[in-house]
């Protein structure tokens, strides 16, 4: 093709933009999930990520108790974490359907579900709960369990 041909260049660019959009959307709805579930060692990564999320929530609660982060920030962080965990939860279910890793998966699933419930329950009245200090020991326990799971072969 002639590269100084403007109409052709425009058509090419429009097609290119559309293709890029489809690739990224395809990644979001297809490949991302494929990429997430296939590698056999991915469970440890998921568990490690979830433990990091639990530790981040613990840090947010520590800071909230010391009045170093505003209420809105705590709520948004918990809502974000909850969304992340729902995704992890969906992946755990997919893995369960495809055979999974037996007891490790079951323990992970249980811990994740508890963390999911915890953040879901906290998302609305996050600040009050963090002041009451009732959720940090549970978060720490969940984080510890997740780290122990991640360390298992």
């Amino acid at each position: 093709m002639r590269f100084n041909d403007e109409p052709k260049a425009d058509a090419l660019f429009a097609a290119f933009a559309l293709a890029m959009f489809l690739v990224v959307a395809g990644y979001r709805y297809g490949w991302q999930s494929f990429h997430h579930t296939i590698p056999p060692d991915k469970l440890a990564i998921d568990v490690e990520n979830s433990a990091s999320t639990a530790a981040t929530l613990g840090l947010v609660l520590d800071l909230a108790s010391a009045d170093r982060v505003p209420e809105g920030y705590v709520r948004t962080t918990f809502e974000n974490a909850n969304e992340e965990l729902r995704e992890e939860w969906a992946h755990a279910r997919e893995r369960d359907a495809s055979g999974g890793k037996g007891p490790v998966l079951a323990a992970y699933r249980g811990t994740l579900a508890e963390l999911d419930t915890l953040t879901g329950g906290i998302a609305a009245p996050a600040f009050e709960r963090s002041r009451a200090d009732s959720s940090r020991p549970r978060l720490r326990a969940i984080e510890g369990t997740l780290r122990a799971l991640a360390a298992r072969p």
Binding site: F3, N4, E6, A9, D10, F13, F16, A17, M20, F21, V24, A25, Y27, R28, Y29, Q32, H35, P39, D41, K42, A44, I45, E48, N49, A51, S52, A55, T56, G58, L59, V60, L63, D67, R68, V69, P70, G72, Y73, R75, T76, T77, N80, R147
Partner: protein, 410 residues
């Protein structure tokens, strides 16, 4: 150019140095490896100084921006491939920056994510449409200086400065197998996030827009050198914070909300708010720059009229393309894709494209027939060739490392 303008240029370059790619890679590297990756930041910073200085000098002497030069040195077919790949990377980067803006707006004001996406994109569209070129850079760059709060937070936490300085010596932590590959992935990621090519497309085109003259080459060297060097100090501060705040808690700070928390630990609510404003404008500036860079590249390659000083009627395609980049970026983010995943792809694929735009600039700036007395000095030539080798290694290693390590997760 007077001293005030020079200082403003350096401050703008400093405020605009850190973008979402650096935030993601650098904070995580600090949490995972302590100070072992400080040298990579220094290495990348020298590289971007060399690249920017050469491209800026060509803009001052020849009034040519990057994609004016690329077809001359690569031929139109290979240059078209470079344009195609650069555009893909720019679009992914633009999407990730818009996603970062939306997350930051959500953290600052508690907006729903989709509303924050629309609001953030409209804000950038309006600022780029209304402001003259110089003030686009300055508005984002100067407000991005709020990122200095990360350096203040670092000083407050009192790191072991001798250990930080030892991090400048090239090294690798004692790792084996897959863990060593993950470190290598972070090395490539940090190096590439500092050397994102869109910054150079924007910088050189800006030089042409600002009508730089051959006598401005010294000012170009100072802005490229000092602005980037100070910016890299800021990036090192983020790495140190990653180590001090997240390392002991075994947190991998792979989201903007976690990264911003690092300011809250020593500085409380005020530090967090200033940090978020800094992130908002640093990322907003990057979104504006990358969308304009996409339009500059397109217009330069096809020989169309371009420039922010030109009206919509005088440069319709150019104006349409930068706006289309921002809107396409917003639509991509609305699919729900994770901006952090997207950042990693944009940084790693940017490294893969880099040799195709770096090599023509190195050749053009070395050519005495073209540049006359302003051709590369021996020092710049030597650095230029060394970095061509490093860039080529990063380009070849980035994508395989990304897949082997599940994007640095192990």
């Amino acid at each position: 150019m007077n001293l005030a303008e020079l200082v403003l240029g350096v401050m703008t370059a400093l405020g605009g140095f850190v973008d979402v790619g650096e935030l993601v890679f650098v904070a995580q590297a600090g949490a995972k490896y302590g100070y072992a990756a400080v040298w990579v930041l220094a290495l990348g910073t020298i590289g971007i100084i060399v690249y920017c200085e050469m491209a800026g000098r060509i803009a001052a002497v020849r009034r040519q921006a990057v994609f004016d030069v690329v077809p001359l040195r690569l031929g139109r077919r290979l240059a078209f491939l470079a344009l195609f790949m650069a555009t893909a990377v720019n679009l992914i980067t633009c999407s990730a920056e818009i996603g970062g803006i939306a997350i930051t707006l959500r953290l600052l004001f508690g907006l729903p994510l989709q509303s924050a996406l629309v609001l953030g994109t409209l804000g950038i569209l309006a600022l780029v449409a209304i402001l003259p070129f110089k003030w686009i850079e300055r508005t984002f760059g100067l407000l991005g200086l709020c990122m200095i709060v990360f350096a203040v937070a670092t000083v407050r936490l009192g790191p072991d400065w001798a250990a930080v300085a030892r991090g400048l010596i090239p090294q690798a932590p004692p790792l084996a197998g897959k863990e060593a590959l993950v470190f290598a992935y972070f090395v490539v990621g940090i190096f590439s996030s500092v050397m994102m090519a869109y910054e150079v497309y924007f910088y050189a085109s800006g030089g042409v827009e600002d009508k730089w003259q051959p006598e401005d080459t010294k000012m170009n060297a100072i802005i490229a050198g000092l602005g980037s060097a100070l910016g890299s100090v800021l990036a090192i501060a983020i790495l140190v914070l990653g180590h001090l705040v997240f390392g002991p808690r075994a947190i991998v700070p792979d989201s903007l909300d976690a990264i911003a928390l690092a300011c809250a630990v020593p500085l409380g609510k005020a530090g967090l708010a200033i940090g978020l404003v800094g992130i908002l404008f640093a990322i907003g500036g990057a979104a504006a720059e990358v969308s304009l860079a996409g339009a500059y590249n397109y217009a330069q390659f096809f020989g169309l009229p371009w420039g922010r000083a030109k009206s919509l009627r005088a440069a319709p395609k150019f104006n349409l393309v930068w706006a289309a980049f921002l809107v396409a970026g917003m639509l991509i983010m609305m699919t729900g894709v994770d901006p952090v995943h997207l950042v990693e792809y944009s940084v790693i694929f940017s490294a893969a494209v880099l040799p195709l735009t770096y090599w023509p600039i190195l050749r053009q700036s070395s050519d005495r027939n073209v540049m006359g007395e302003h051709a590369n000095s021996r020092l710049v030539s030597a650095l230029g060739w060394i970095y061509l080798v490093l860039i080529t290694i990063a380009a070849a290693a980035g994508v395989p490392l990304m897949f082997l390590t599940h994007a640095g997760q192990g």
